[in-house]
């Protein structure tokens, strides 16, 4: 295990022997490096003003992704390349084409969000593909602008690829030479470990069960920036490369603990239809690039977007302590608000989702005030089979309706084996009232949650009958009448 962390800032090597493991990358850039181009807008990964690009060596060369520097901790940069807005211009001051395009389209007003937009567009530019308008909106969903109304920024994005764009010098040789080694670092009385494999991780966590396991930091980062909690010992999944596998085999999709939501997006979308759209609306690209599927489960949030869908799909969780593994149905992991079935020293190692058998129906929905980058008031998922006009193996799970993601046992019972009719659906809608007693908060009142949850069941019905109506405002194409 190596002491200290090592990364590239632009093309320069940085070696830190000691650092506060909870020092955010944003604060490091501004306070230590005095790179002032990267801005703090919210310190919670919701506005994108702090967006930076992280380069990592992969089997096919360097991969670059945009992340929120405000909730990343410096030690997680180990073995990576950090690129900021200062790295884009040529030595002679010539701007990068994405920067030029933003000038030409009058895409900055106050300019405070602009470096973040630059970096989101830059990440896309390096990765090569010229995005369609709809993709561009997804790429920029995590960047808020309060001045422009976004039109000129989208216009600038549309120009991507019009001119050859420089890409960063390939740093894989340097970074590969550093790879594969576990690291540790301390500072300000806090410790950080990044074991290099799942086995090392299991051993370390068994030894230090009071440590906090981190990966994408999209939740834990906020414990520091928002709740100002003192996290004294962190164990990162970030270097355990054997935990980052996605397998499709034996009728299941298996997702390791270190797999980011961005990396799982395509596979889950391919096999589970609606889940792809749900993930498209899961936070923002910057968050999905960092956050893990298993982290969204492990932290036990009642409003995490993935658990309701995965529970409806019948997913299983693998937990590991030392060399001992156990599996349990995902729904059993959530005991009550703030309490999960995870023993001391045990961590979530993987989630396994059974593929949908032929004819199995699956729908999921996310209700929010804003479509993109918002947390659900209600998240709903429905999986069932229709055989001879009757419903079989009905699994319904909602988020936002209880202290945990929770199945709708009463509604399922009404529907199980019943004829698939609007009448029976309406009966199941009534049954939801005995399944849930939702709360009122800033995302929605108890009434709204219940009524909309009921209506989503009706929507599922309408979408699985012969009706040809449009049922989703997001799927209505293009502009107006």
């Amino acid at each position: 295990m190596r002491d200290g962390v090592r990364f590239l800032l632009g093309n320069e090597t940085r070696e830190l022997e000691s650092v506060d493991p909870t020092l955010t990358v944003l604060r490091y850039l501004r306070e230590v490096e005095r790179r002032m181009g990267t801005k703090e807008g919210c310190a919670e990964g919701d506005c994108g003003a702090c967006t930076v690009v992280i380069g990592e060596p992969g089997p096919d060369g360097m991969r670059y992704k945009a992340v929120n520097s405000c909730i990343q901790f410096v030690p997680t940069l180990d073995g990576k390349q950090l690129l900021t807005v200062e790295d884009l211009a040529q030595a002679d001051g010539t701007l990068h084409p994405v920067q030029d395009a933003l000038c030409d389209t009058h895409a900055s007003q106050c300019g405070f969000c602009t470096p973040g937009f630059v970096m989101s567009l830059y990440a896309q530019s390096i990765n090569g593909e010229k995005p369609a308008r709809s993709e561009l909106k997804d790429i920029l969903a995590g960047n808020l602008c309060r001045c422009t109304g976004y039109g000129p920024i989208l216009d600038a994005g549309d120009r991507m690829g019009d001119r050859p764009a420089p890409v960063p010098a390939d740093a894989s040789d340097t970074l590969n030479a550093w790879a594969g080694e576990a690291v540790t670092i301390s500072g300000k009385g806090r410790r950080f470990h990044a074991p290099a494999s799942g086995d090392e991780l299991a051993e370390l966590y068994e030894q230090y069960p009071d440590a906090l396991i981190i990966s994408g930091l999209t939740d834990v980062g906020l414990w520091v920036t928002k709740q100002h909690r003192d996290l004294v010992h962190l164990i990162s999944l970030g270097k355990a490369s054997d935990l980052t596998t996605i397998d499709v085999a034996d009728g299941h999709v298996s997702i390791g603990a270190g797999v980011t939501i961005a990396d799982a997006h395509a596979v889950l979308g391919e096999h589970f239809g609606d889940l792809g759209e749900l993930i498209r609306r899961f936070a923002s690209l910057q968050i999905r690039n960092a956050a893990t599927v298993c982290g969204n489960i492990a932290n036990g949030s009642p409003i995490g977007d993935l658990p309701p869908a995965l529970i409806a799909l019948g997913a299983e969780l693998t937990l590991r302590r030392g060399s001992v593994r156990r599996t349990l149905p995902l729904e059993d992991y959530f005991i009550e608000y703030g309490r999960q079935d995870r023993q001391v020293g045990e961590f979530v190692e993987a989630v396994r989702v059974p593929l949908l058998p032929e004819g199995r129906r699956f729908r999921c929905y996310k209700l929010t005030k804003r479509f993109d980058q918002d947390i659900s008031a209600v998240c709903a998922a429905f999986a069932f089979s229709l055989k001879d006009g009757t419903a079989r193996d009905v699994r319904i799970c909602y988020g936002g309706m209880a202290g945990t993601p929770k199945r709708a046992g009463a509604a399922e019972a009404v529907l199980e084996g019943a004829e698939w009719t609007e009448e029976i659906i309406r009966a199941a809608m009534v049954a939801l009232e005995s399944d849930y007693t939702p709360m009122t908060d800033m995302r929605g009142s108890a009434d709204y949650r219940m009524v909309s949850a009921q209506n989503l069941l009706l929507k599922t019905y309408l979408e699985t009958t012969d009706r040809k109506d449009e049922t989703r405002v997001l799927e209505t194409q293009g502009g107006g009448t």
């Binding site: 900055s108 039109g151 005030k369 804003r370 993109d372 929605g444 009434d447 405002v473």
Partner: protein, 776 residues
């Protein structure tokens, strides 16, 4: 479209051209300097402001000893440590820097801690022992109205006899709506950096729209003359009204730390503290009682407007006045009585926000239009057109100002055609009749917005222009740059006057040391006022250059012509720089101030009569929406805008203001919901919970045009019109379109109960309510 290249015939950056924002290169390169980017001097202290956790309580005891002895703490300040006056208010003296005996909202500043790092300061602040004795708290407009709790006296405006009209008209309806507030969500939060000088001087870098007021407040708090305080800023990362009065608190506390420690000090609020501590757009309750004839023409109307001002007056007086001034929007009300209540609540003191009360006043009258249309069965556009101000008659406002520049009828007509409104409306009706779960709606709403500060004395501005020997120009004025493009517009004016390329004009930081006694950059007045002041300064210097040329070259005045980057004197041409150098050698002063005050305006609040506005800015928008009747989810699918910018100084900048203003208004009326819990705490205090529009909320089909016939009948800077605020109110068309979509559920017979913001939850409730009412 960037600046056109300079030619023999044209300078770069002339007026009426789309010069790019002067800072755009720096914005995209990350080199634009905001207050928090200024290199910190050695010894700089970071300041944390400790806030009240109670909405209304007596401060029974405040023990700061544990804070003082915490690691790193350099100083701890509370009300007792204020050497001057403990007030950071703009007008009324009711915004204490630190609470004294009572706290009046959750988030109110109680004390401040300075330490080398913000982490130490925040941690130390948590050690304070505060005992509260809770007092009765009014959190809502309704509670304040019931308790007769007001920050300022009630106001009334009266035209004709509304009561009589209500008695006699054939149709009469009344209603009540709530209009939510809005957080500014400037991307750069509130920040001030204060640096000690000689004597008791302090230099404050403040992210503010109102440097002079910050200067005055800092001096007042320190107990020093205004001359001891200099306030400076190059740019803000967004303002929107939120940095008009609010920055005084942060600046005053930073300056107090400087005074107490002799060390530089920075106050930078994080997003959550900013959203809890600082004021927002006022939420309103507006009741109406309207009488109209069978064609839907209003015969008389009474409005009761009640605003939640919060714990102090701040700018609420002028904001509530402006809500009253815009309760007519584009419509002749004939007989109108408008009553305004300025409610005092134990919530944050609400403040300026783009539109400054105008939007709330307008939302109410547009809802009345929708109501009349549903009651009479007419197209809402026809009802709106029937009620528009006339051009020769029917043109007196409820404040007895005659509308002399009414272009609304012409502009609306043009937009109705270009947007294909009628045909689309018919298609939408067919779509909705087909029984779909999704319903569509469409609406055209106009905007007429009064331009001038309604406090007449504020309509003044100053500028300072130096021409250096090499012909380059230093431009300074009292306006502030918050992204709106003021600086480039004023630079265009100066470039135009001297006929030099805009790059020859250096745009410089706003500072109270160069131009004193400025008004806030607010009320959309920035270019109108500062453009004129800078023009005056440039013309003074230009006149001296001309006089010099007449004398030195012995040619008559009419033979001196300023051509692009050169001057023709008789039969000779010389470069502008050469003429300047010649004038310098001849000992001609090449520095001048300029001053401007808006003519014609006056307003008497006692009688409710006058001409508060120099002119009006107009626009109109057609919005189309689609609503999911099962969930309330919705999307704005197409927007057409036609906006009157007069003869635009910079069309690209103005288009940016129109689009940005519209989207910000759309956010206000749809997704941006401020939500307080029962204990009076704002729970939506970060972007995770407070949802401003994101990229994908922008309509896929968005057609914006600046009205090509636009011209200002008044003698404004190059006949342009103010652009900052008016476009925000174009977004009222979204609310009306949502109303139209929901009304389809009730067969277009009933007005949906739809308050703002029209969140999915409110839309679903309106749909359910309408279904129930239609069935009964």
């Amino acid at each position: 479209m960037t600046s056109a290249p300079a030619t023999n015939e044209n300078i770069r950056g002339a007026v009426h051209t789309s010069s790019i924002h002067d800072s755009s290169h720096k914005h995209v390169a990350g080199t634009a300097v905001y207050i928090d980017d200024i290199p910190e001097l050695p010894g700089t202290l970071q300041v944390y402001i400790a806030m009240s956790t109670r909405p209304h309580a007596r401060l029974a005891s405040l023990d700061l000893a544990p804070v003082r002895s915490a690691p790193g703490v350099a100083c701890v300040l509370s009300a007792a440590d204020v050497p001057g006056i403990n007030d950071a208010s703009p007008v009324m003296g009711d915004d204490p820097v630190f609470a004294e005996t009572e706290v009046c909202y959750v988030g109110q500043s109680i004390f401040a801690v300075a330490a080398p790092s913000i982490d130490e300061a925040r941690a130390a602040a948590g050690l304070a022992v505060i005992e509260y004795e809770d007092l009765e708290a009014y959190l809502t407009v309704d509670e304040a109205l019931a308790a007769k709790s007001f920050v300022l006296p009630q106001m009334k405006m009266k035209l004709g006899d509304a009561a009589q009209a209500l008695e006699t008209a054939p149709n009469r309806h009344s209603g009540r709506m709530r209009i939510g507030g809005q957080d500014h969500f400037y991307l750069e939060g509130q920040v001030a950096y204060a640096v000690p000088g000689e004597d008791a001087d302090v230099h404050v870098y403040s992210s503010t729209q109102h440097p002079s007021e910050v200067q005055h407040n800092v001096a007042k708090v320190l107990g020093v003359p205004d001359h001891a305080v200099t306030v400076e800023l190059r740019r803000m990362g967004g303002g929107f009204g939120g940095k008009e009065s609010q920055p005084a608190l942060m600046a005053a506390i930073a300056a107090l730390v400087v005074r107490n420690t002799g060390r530089p000090a920075k106050v930078r609020l994080d997003r959550d503290d900013d959203m809890e501590m600082t004021g927002k757009r006022h939420d309103f309750v507006i009741e109406h009682d309207v009488a109209y004839d069978d064609d839907g023409v209003i015969q008389g109307i009474e409005f009761m407007q009640a605003a939640r001002c919060g714990m102090s007056a701040d700018l609420s007086g002028a904001i509530c006045d402006r809500a009253m001034f815009h309760s007519d929007n584009c419509y002749y009300l004939q007989n109108a009585t408008i009553t305004s209540h300025r409610c005092k609540t134990h919530t944050v003191s609400n403040t300026a926000f783009r539109g400054f009360g105008g939007p709330q006043g307008m939302v109410a009258i547009e809802r009345v239009m929708d109501e009349i249309a549903l009651q009479t069965g007419r197209d809402p556009l026809d009802v709106r057109k029937a009620n528009l101000y006339g051009t020769g008659d029917r043109n007196v406002t409820p404040y007895h100002m005659t509308v002399e520049d009414n272009v609304a009828p012409e502009l609306i007509e043009e937009l109705e055609t270009s947007s294909n409104y009628r045909a689309r409306r018919a298609t939408i009706r067919e779509y909705n009749a087909a029984g779909n779960i999704l319903k569509k709606g469409i609406a055209l709403t106009p905007v007429k917005f009064g331009i001038s500060f309604t406090n007449t004395f504020l309509n003044q501005a100053g500028a300072l222009v130096h021409v250096y020997k090499d012909g380059s120009v230093h431009l300074n004025h009292g306006g502030t740059e918050m992204g709106q493009g003021l600086f480039v517009k004023v630079a265009q004016v100066v470039a135009q006057e001297f006929q030099i390329d805009i790059e020859r004009v250096k745009i410089t930081s706003t500072t109270t040391a160069k131009v004193p006694n400025t008004s806030a950059t607010a009320a959309s007045s920035g270019s109108d006022l500062n453009g004129m002041a800078a023009q005056a300064a440039a013309r003074t210097i230009k006149e001296r250059l001309i006089q010099h040329a007449i004398d030195a070259h012995n040619v008559p005045r009419e033979q001196i012509v300023f051509l692009p980057n050169r001057v023709r004197i008789g039969n000779e041409e010389m470069s502008f720089a050469d003429l300047v150098n010649e004038a310098y050698m001849a000992r001609v002063s090449l520095s001048a101030t300029g001053f401007y005050k808006t003519p014609k305006i006056h307003w008497d609040p006692m009688t409710g009569r006058g001409r508060p506005f120099y002119y009006f800015a107009y626009g109109a928008a057609v919005s189309e929406v689609i609503v999911d009747t099962l969930t309330g989810e919705n999307r704005v699918t197409r927007v057409d805008i036609l906006h009157d910018a007069g003869q635009s100084l910079n069309p690209a900048i103005d288009l940016g203001q129109i689009e940005g203003g519209f989207i910000q208004g759309m956010g206000w009326l749809t997704t941006e919901e401020l939500w307080w819990n029962d204990a009076g705490r704002l729970m939506t205090h970060a972007p995770s919970t407070y949802k401003i529009p994101a990229c994908s909320d922008r309509p896929d089909d968005f057609r914006i045009a600046i009205w090509d016939k636009g011209r200002n009948v008044e003698d404004t800077i190059y006949r342009s019109k103010a652009i900052g605020e008016p476009p925000l109110m174009l977004a009222i068309s979204v609310l009306s379109a949502l109303t139209d979509a929901v009304a389809s559920v009730g067969g277009y017979k009933l007005l949906p109960d739809l308050d703002a913001p029209a969140t999915p939850e409110r839309l679903l409730a309106a749909i359910s309510g309408l279904k129930a009412r239609a069935a009964s």
